[in-house]
Amino acid sequence: MTTFLLGAAAFILGTVTLGLVRILRGPGNADRMLAAQLLGTGGVAALLLLGVATGVGAVSEVGLLLALLAAFGSVAFVTGGGRSSDASAADTRGAARSEPE
């Protein structure tokens, strides 16, 4: 059972690693954010699998923390940091759709 759970954790980590190609390719920052979000969920799943497999206590609490703060990256993305004075028209949408190159 332990081997299976560890294997599943490695598999999920591997798939979300593939998803990281989205971080490299973009094209927009929103797509990069999506890849980070998928990595977040996959990371939580792998964490829970690891925790049950290795019997480390309190791992589900770490997962709870990660799930609690999972939305923060996207919240920061959407609020765009609140540009202080200049060019606020390009704020969220500009950050969201600007091409990297």
Binding site: L47, G57, E61, L66, T79, G82, D91
Partner: protein
């Protein structure tokens, strides 16, 4: 345990790949997104290293709050990024620096491979003396008893850090509200999240502080979660950040360190040394310090992210534009 090794190798590859991306990406925003994912993976690494306390700190601070900070900064700095690429050093210099950095990394790797076996450790000494503090979590024991001076200095140093951030305000801005976290523009989903999530988050945060005496967790982890919830409420526009001249808030910022110093000074009389606890009251005193520190660290972390104060007219303008 070879299957565990496969997981570890996958994790290491992921971490290194992301670190490479953070270093090499062209745009700072993409690198900051990578850093959010990187913090999350480090949490997994800490769990694999059997350091659940550290994993919790990394999850709350490293991936949650630092991500918010860096993404916000990257969005603000994007207009100034264009001329950076011109200033990149030449190829020869980069190769030279690369070789030097590789040499340093190789030296560190050699140190890792040559670490003495069996490893020197203070784990047994901590385990032997832990019952005297009444605590069950050795990490909390180290933080609050054996290396209490470290923890005291750390909680004190957070306050000058906040003063440093505040002092970057303009002259007109002093005394106003912090200006980094102007409420977001989108009308629907974020305020809902900021209403539903904080009750759970506050519960988890207080649970972490309380359970930290015996199980993994503690004041820093709990305070980071509480600060994150506060920031969420401010970003969603449900509450404004307090003006930096607010006296109650200033008191909350220092109540933890004051409590720590006060109890520590009382230790000179009662237990014979600064920061020593009389054995019969060790646990209640530690809990009192932890409660005070939780309040202060929460306030400091939240306000560090909220940035320097801006003049009231500018704050109102930003809020209106966003809502």
């Amino acid at each position: 345990m070879t299957s565990a090794l496969v997981v570890d190798a996958a994790l290491v590859l992921l971490v290194l790949g992301l670190a490479l991306w953070i270093t090499a990406a062209r745009a700072a925003y993409g690198a900051a997104v990578g850093f959010v994912a990187y913090g999350l993976l480090l949490t997994l690494v800490w769990v694999r290293l059997a350091a659940v306390d550290v994993a919790m700190t990394e999850a709350a601070l490293g991936s949650g709050l630092t991500g918010l900070l860096l993404l916000g900064a990257a969005a603000r700095l994007a207009p100034y990024e264009a001329d950076e690429h011109r200033r990149r050093p030449g190829t020869v210099l980069r190769v030279l620096v690369g070789v030097l950095c590789a040499a340093i990394a190789a030296g560190l790797a050699a140190v890792v491979l040559l670490l003495p076996d069996p490893a020197p450790s203070q784990a047994l000494a901590v385990a032997a003396h832990l019952p005297a503090t009444g605590l069950g979590n050795p990490v909390t024991g180290v933080l609050m008893a054996y290396r209490a001076v470290d923890t005291l200095l750390e909680s004190v140093v957070l306050v000058p850090a906040l003063i440093g951030v505040w002092s970057l305000s303009t002259e007109m801005g002093w005394g106003g509200r912090p200006g980094f976290l102007t409420p977001c523009r989108s009308g629907s989903a974020l305020p809902l999240l900021a209403r539903v999530l904080p009750p759970f988050g506050i519960l988890v945060g207080i649970h972490l502080v309380w359970a930290g005496a015996d199980d993994p967790g503690g004041k820093f982890q709990g305070a980071a979660v509480l600060a994150a919830m506060w920031i969420l409420v401010m970003v969603a526009g449900l509450r404004e950040p307090p003006p930096v001249s607010d006296r109650l808030m200033r008191f909350l910022l220092v109540v933890g360190p004051l409590c720590f110093i006060g109890i520590g000074a009382a230790g000179i009389r009662l237990a014979g040394a600064f920061l020593a606890y009389p054995e019969a009251y060790a646990k209640p005193l530690i809990l009192a310090i932890e409660a005070g520190l939780t309040i202060s660290v929460t306030a400091v972390l939240g306000l560090l992210l909220a940035g320097p104060p801006v003049p009231e007219p500018q704050y109102q303008r930003q809020s209106r534009r966003r809502s």
